[in-house]
Structures are given as structure tokens and as C-alpha cells.
């Protein structure tokens, strides 16, 4: 395989909490590659570390271990944090309104990345910005408005246009549709696809919405408590997932069907995501896993390739993949006994 566009190797991101006394590994040993033109979805619950990955890839925060390379060149290490904005990665944030300075007119926010990177002069910057507005489907008359005068969907398109002005190779969408109406979400997701065709962009789509992830992503990584638990092609994850957590996420997806027509085997996870300051021993998911055994508490499951390009971190990945029921019915142990 040729050199990936972006490669994250064994990345760890540590925060100091409780006045510096405790360490929190928000991301703990995550590795992934992103090919040119590919879309990678990262899904997981709140607090699993998805957005932290996004910020690290942008060099908005320092990593404590590992490295990030872009086209084979090392750009971020713990010793030399990357310079944001100059290696072809840009980000779209969750809240389209908060991402725009309320006291700047749209045009002023739009030309800012060009100003910072010293591209063009005042009038050519304006032209570039207006052209990009047209590409994301925004009337140029809105350029002289203030953010509070526009709708959420319009603002998110403006944020996308602004991020694209620096011609990034990778666009990170950090829950970029979560704050929008469903109909606008669809527009924005379709816009991603159009932009991907036009600019040859690669996407990292961070979301907790499975439908969003599977719609736009070629591959999906499932994250739990700072680690990837499964990574594979979207279709494989939907039909032959090899991790109980992925199965639980899939079955938690609401179905627009009457109850009698819904699939019976809905797996509801109990409890909260544990504190990342003191993660469970062995497999981090074991405290909520319906099929956890003593082995899971003793040993962290290795990251194994189940089929080409499909990885899972579960001791029972084969059985889960083969469709083992996850209600604990074939096993005397249940959630309580593992604790």
C-alpha cells in the first residue's frame, strides 16, 4: 500500500485534572491511517475522546506520546507540536454559530485564514472568499451580514467555505451536523460528498450518530474510553461487527418502525462510561459488556485483524462476529458478577 495521506501512530493525549494530581488519558494509544480521498468515521459516546483526536490532528493540543505524519512526513510529535493551519488539515466544529466571531461580518471571518497564511491581497482574498461561498451554496449578498442574522445551516456552510479556503487535503468534521435540523444535516452531508468529488478531500467525520457515520464514511472506527475497539469498512461493521460495543451502538439506533416490527434483539447498555482517570483493568468495556468474563478483567484484548482491513479489540471477536447472542443467555455470568 502506498504512503497514507495521514497516519496517526500510537497517539496518547493526557490531561491533568484535579489540580494536576491526576492524569487523564483522553486518548490512549490510538493508531489509524487515512488514505487520500477517503472518509473515516469515528463514532463513540460522549467522553470517549473523539473530539480530542480531532483537536490533536489539528495541532490544537499537544500529544503526550506517538506521532502524526502527513504523506510520510512527521508533523506532530510530543516534543515538537505541529503548527496549525499549514499542513493541510482543517476543521468544522459542532456549533456553527460559536465558530464565527459575533462581531465580525461574514466576509471578514471568511478572509481571515487567507490573511493569516498571507495568501493574495485584500481584494483577491475577497474574491476567493466570495467564490468559495458560491461553491457551498451561499448567496454572496450574505457576506456583509453578521453571524446572528443567518440560520444554522447557512452558518455551517460558511464555516465549511472558510475551512476550504486554505485548500486543505483533510477536513475534520467534529460533530459538524449535530447542532442542525435533520433536513439541514442531509444538505450538509451531501455537500461533503460534492466537495469530496470537487476538491479530492479526505474526511474525518467525528459523530455519535451512526446514520451520519455510515452515510459518509468508507471506514468507521468505534471508540470507547480513549481507545479504538473496532475499525473496519462501514458495511462490515453494520452487518458483521466483531465487538459487543459496536453491536450495542448499532442496536441502540432508533428504528422508525412499530414495536412489533422491530428486531427483537435490542441490546441496551447499562451504566455510564467509566471515568477515564481510573479506567477498568483489562478490557475497558468489560464493566458494561454483557459477555465479559474473568479473562476480560485480567487481560486487555489485543488489536486483531479479523478480516482484511477489519480490526477488533475483543477476546471474543470471532464469536461476536459469528452472531453470538449478547443478552448473556448462553452464559451464567452477567454484568453484576463481573464487577
Amino acid at each position: 500500500m502506498s504512503t497514507p495521506l495521514l497516519s496517526v501512530k500510537d497517539m496518547r493525549i493526557t490531561f491533568h485534572v484535579n489540580g494536576g494530581r491526576d492524569q487523564l488519558h483522553a486518548v490512549d494509544g490510538v493508531s489509524f491511517d487515512l488514505a487520500s480521498g477517503e472518509s473515516l468515521g469515528i463514532i463513540g459516546e460522549s467522553g470517549s475522546g473523539k473530539s480530542t483526536i480531532a483537536r490533536a490532528v489539528l495541532s490544537l493540543l499537544r500529544i503526550t506520546r506517538g506521532e502524526i505524519t502527513m504523506e510520510g512526513k512527521t508533523i506532530v510529535t510530543p516534543q515538537s507540536p505541529g503548527k496549525p493551519g499549514n499542513y493541510g488539515v482543517q476543521i468544522i466544529f459542532q456549533d456553527p454559530h460559536a465558530a464565527l466571531n459575533p462581531r465580525s461580518k461574514i466576509i471578514r471571518s471568511l478572509v481571515e485564514p487567507l490573511e493569516i497564511q498571507g495568501k493574495g491581497n485584500a481584494s483577491s482574498r475577497r474574491d476567493m472568499a466570495l467564490e468559495m461561498l458560491a461553491k457551498v451554496g451561499i448567496n454572496r449578498a450574505l457576506a456583509d451580514r453578521y453571524p446572528h442574522e443567518l440560520s444554522g445551516g447557512q452558518k455551517q456552510r460558511i464555516n465549511i467555505a472558510r475551512a476550504l479556503l486554505l485548500r486543505p487535503k483533510i477536513l475534520v468534521a467534529d460533530e459538524a451536523t449535530a447542532a442542525l435540523d435533520v433536513s439541514i444535516q442531509a444538505d450538509i452531508l451531501n455537500l461533503y460528498k460534492d466537495l469530496q468529488d470537487e476538491f479530492g478531500l479526505s474526511f474525518i467525520v467525528i459523530t455519535h450518530d451512526l446514520a451520519v457515520a455510515s452515510y459518509v464514511s468508507d471506514r468507521i472506527a468505534v471508540m470507547y474510553l480513549g481507545r479504538f475497539v473496532e475499525l473496519g469498512p462501514s458495511a462490515t461493521l453494520a452487518t458483521k461487527s466483531a465487538h459487543p460495543y459496536t453491536r450495542a451502538l448499532m442496536s441502540a439506533e432508533p428504528e422508525a418502525l412499530p414495536r412489533r416490527l422491530q428486531k427483537q434483539d435490542r441490546l441496551v447498555l447499562r451504566g455510564e462510561i467509566p471515568s477515564p482517570v481510573t479506567p477498568p483493568s483489562g478490557c475497558r468495556f468489560r464493566t458494561r459488556c454483557p459477555i465479559a468474563t474473568d479473562l476480560c478483567a485480567a487481560e486487555a484484548p489485543p488489536w486483531r485483524e479479523m478480516s482484511p482491513g477489519h480490526y477488533s479489540a475483543c477476546h471474543f471477536a470471532e464469536e461476536v462476529m459469528a452472531g453470538k447472542p449478547l443478552d448473556g443467555s448462553d452464559k451464567p455470568q452477567n454484568l453484576e458478577s463481573v464487577k
Binding site: R55, L58, L60, K83, P84, G85, N86, Q90, I91, F93, D95, A98, A99, L100, N101, P102, R103, S104, S109, E112, P113, I116, Q117, K135, V136, G137, I138, N139, A141, L142, Y146, H148, L150, S151, G153, Q154, N159, R162, L166, I184, D187, N190, L191, D194, D197, E198
Partner: protein, 292 residues
């Protein structure tokens, strides 16, 4: 390319609100601005339009009540009160503007720095501010004026230095909030420097309360200058300011109580106008407050 276009709705062109249009419909703003403009014009033109010499005594007409020729009467040395009000307007306004201006120039950068950098920088700056804020302003100004020798310049420098922590505090508090805003992260993601983030994103979003406070402080500075002059630490005789006039009037309260009203009312109206001006400026500079 096929982008779904669901916007924008046509821009309504029948009503174009302008800032000036909004301004002239605010009675408080119109009154404040008009009053201050007239006052500044008078202060500048005072040497030419004063009916009498404000420092030449006239012992034939001491402590006169208002009458034709002397519309606001004369003071204890027979000097025309109208002329002295005009002559005192300049020093009074100047010291108010200069001390508040100095306070803004000193206070805002420290507030931005403390709020933006956090950590030790913030701790040190904040403790110094606490220490300064715990001094009684006027008393400290009197102390400084006493050490450096009484003059208008030392008085207003002392006031400026003592007002600065208030601005630093206000701006620091807002900076702490604004620096965590998403648009700051967005700017950083484009590679913006700290200086750019502070000037472009933090300052415009953190300065509002400082603007309103400047309006309030101008009024307070005017009164503080009066107090300093009243205590003899401001404008020195035979020069004059409203505060100095008030001080002299006080001495003759029982002989001619009317003498206190002209400078007192001038101070009051000017202070009110400064307040109105600060509030108006804040609304004017906020794109989100309705101006229609």
C-alpha cells in the same frame, strides 16, 4: 456542481436601518452628545467668548447675585461666574478624559494579558490589581499629589493609575470567557498568532463592559478632579476648574449659597452626559443589539 441550495431568502430592501438613524431616535444619546459637544466647543473657545477676565479680581463687585452683566453673579473676588465656568470647563473635561484614557491604556492590556495567558501571569497581575483596588482612590491620589507636589498633571496621573485596575479586572473577566469560545479555536486552526487572536477576536468581544465603565468613570473622574481641586491638590490658583470653584464657593456658603450651584450643576449635567454616552456607545458597537 450540484449543491443543494435552500437559501437565502431575498433580502428585504424596503427598510435599511442605519446607525445614525437609530442614534437620532435615542433621546438620551442626543441630549448627551449635544450637551458634551456644546461644552467642548465652549471650553475650546473660552478665551475668546468669555465676557470678563476669569482671574482678574473686581473688588467693587464681590459675591454679587445673578444680575444683568453677571448672569450667574460674581465670586468672592468679584470675578464673573459665567467666565469662570467657561474657563474651568477645559481643565475639568481634560482631566476627566485624560485620567480615564490613561486608565484604559494601562488597564486593558493588563486585563487581556492576565485573562489570556492564565497561570502565573494571571496570578501575579491579579494580586497586584487586588492590592491597588483595596486603596481608597481619592486618598491615594491625595497622597501621590502630596509627594509629587500639587498640580493638575500629578492629580490626573494619580487618578488614571488608580482607575486602571478596574478596567483590567473587567477585561480580564471577559477575556477568560471569550478565549474559550469556538471562534478562537477556529482562528487558531488557521494558524493565527496569539497577538492576532487577542486583537481580532478577544478585544472586540471583551471591551463592551469597559466602554460602559469608561462612561461611568468619566463622571467619577470629573467628580474626583473636583474633590482633588476642592482639597487643593488639583488645578492651582489663579487657574480654575469646576472643582476649584466649588471649593471656593463652599467657603462662602453662608454668605452666598447660590455660588455653589453653577459649578455643581455643570458637574452633574456633564457626569450624566458621560453616562449616557457610555451606554449609547456600547449599544452602537454591538451588532447584535437591535437598532431599528
Amino acid at each position: 456542481m450540484s449543491v443543494l441550495t435552500n437559501e437565502p431568502p431575498a433580502v428585504k430592501k424596503d427598510r435599511v436601518p442605519t446607525k445614525f438613524g437609530w442614534l437620532i431616535r435615542q433621546p438620551k444619546a442626543v441630549l448627551s452628545v449635544t450637551f458634551l459637544t456644546v461644552l467642548i466647543v465652549i471650553a475650546i473657545l473660552a478665551p475668546w467668548i468669555m465676557p470678563y477676565d476669569p482671574i482678574a479680581p473686581n473688588f467693587g463687585a464681590l459675591l454679587q447675585p445673578p444680575m444683568p452683566g453677571h448672569w450667574l453673579g460674581t465670586d468672592d473676588l468679584g470675578r464673573d461666574v459665567v467666565s469662570r465656568l467657561m474657563a474651568g470647563a477645559g481643565p475639568s473635561l481634560l482631566s476627566a478624559f485624560a485620567s480615564v484614557g490613561l486608565a484604559v491604556v494601562l488597564g486593558v492590556p493588563f486585563g487581556l494579558l492576565a485573562g489570556f495567558m492564565g497561570g502565573w501571569t494571571d496570578t501575579i497581575i491579579s494580586r497586584v490589581l487586588d492590592a491597588m483596588l483595596s486603596f481608597p482612590t481619592i486618598l491615594f491620589a491625595v497622597g501621590i499629589a502630596g509627594i509629587l507636589g500639587p498640580s493638575m498633571t500629578t492629580g490626573l496621573v494619580a487618578l488614571g493609575v488608580l482607575f486602571a485596575p478596574q478596567f483590567a479586572r473587567l477585561v480580564r473577566a471577559r477575556t477568560l470567557v471569550v478565549r474559550r469560545e469556538l471562534f478562537v479555536d477556529a482562528s487558531r486552526a488557521f494558524g493565527a498568532s496569539n497577538l492576532r487572536i487577542i486583537m481580532r477576536h478577544i478585544l472586540p468581544n471583551a471591551i463592551q463592559s469597559a466602554i460602559v465603565h469608561a462612561g461611568l468613570l468619566l463622571a467619577i473622574a470629573l467628580l474626583a478632579e473636583s474633590s482633588l481641586s476642592f482639597l487643593g491638590f488639583g488645578v492651582q490658583p489663579p487657574g480654575t476648574s469646576w472643582g476649584a470653584m466649588l471649593a471656593r464657593a463652599y467657603a462662602y456658603m453662608e454668605v452666598n449659597p447660590f455660588l455653589m450651584f453653577p459649578p455643581g450643576i455643570a458637574i452633574l449635567l456633564t457626569a450624566l452626559s458621560f453616562n449616557g454616552l457610555g451606554e449609547t456607545l456600547r449599544v452602537l458597537l454591538d451588532p447584535q443589539s437591535p437598532k431599528a
